[in-house]
């Protein structure tokens, strides 16, 4: 039955054709999207550019150092959170298997 159902599902869920036009619509949308994108920014005077780059780098370094420990704590916290959610998922999935088997057995007993 399981293999029959697998085969029937594969037959039932064969991909269907979107019909004419989807490719053209996609290409038109891409053309519009590309045309709408802003071009490269106008060139600035190089002195100003270097000053702004240096300022940005200094700011980033300062912020980076100040918040480094926060980031590390956040990384550990998010990893712990991910593991917790995964652990709850595994636990629930296994309890679910037990529940289904017990439930099926009860139904069979009540039915017979």
């Amino acid at each position: 039955m399981s293999n029959d159902l697998d085969a029937s599902l594969r037959a039932a869920l064969r991909p269907v054709d979107p019909g004419e036009g989807l490719t053209q619509k996609v290409l038109a949308a891409i053309e519009q999207d590309t045309a709408g994108q802003p071009g490269p920014p106008p060139a600035r005077q190089s002195g100003w550019r270097w000053a702004s780059v240096a300022l940005t780098v200094a700011l980033l370094l300062g912020l980076g150092t100040a918040h480094q420990w926060q980031v590390r704590r956040q990384e550990r916290g998010l990893e712990a959170r991910r593991q917790l959610i995964e652990a709850l998922q595994v636990t629930s999935a296994k309890l679910d298997v037990a529940y289904r088997v017990v439930n099926d057995e009860e139904k069979t007993e009540n039915g017979s």
Binding site: S8, L9, P15, I30, Q89, D96
Partner: protein, 186 residues
Amino acid sequence: MSQPSEPSEELLSRVLAGEAPAFAEVVRLQQRSVYSLALRMLGDRQKAEDLAQEVFLQLHRNLATIESGRHLEFWLRKVTANRAIDRLRREPRVETLPLEAADGVADEGSDADPILRRRLRALVARLPPAPRAVVLLRYQEDLDPTDIARALNMSIHTVKSHLKRSLAALRKGIEAAAQDELRSPT
């Protein structure tokens, strides 16, 4: 099952070089799969077309992150399934059943019982969004549970659980329909 549609490395390198005809070829190769996934998730042709269009547009914007033809195929399925699930969560009242409209096209070249196929599609359409996506990625796209887990950001245990429960529900649905048929004279 999906026909072999993975873009060749040569085609992919042309796409990455910015050749528009090469990208059009990728769309042509992948559109059946993306559109079918969207259609069976959303249950509406127009919405499925819109979603497929958005997904290909997003692919075009993210071409730089694509590593191989296989990665591109996986990326498209992942993005389509997740966007469809998000959409169904945002619009929970979307009608998801008028899939009969797609039946004629879907039945081409299949030897299996057409009534059973139609019933199965209707039953799949009634599954909640996440299990429905799992079933479609498994049986329409032939992804294995590990890849489905990666695509839908679930644990493999949740994927297996969804598959087991969904198959049990589909089996029950088919049996119930068969019994109804026996009871009601034709």
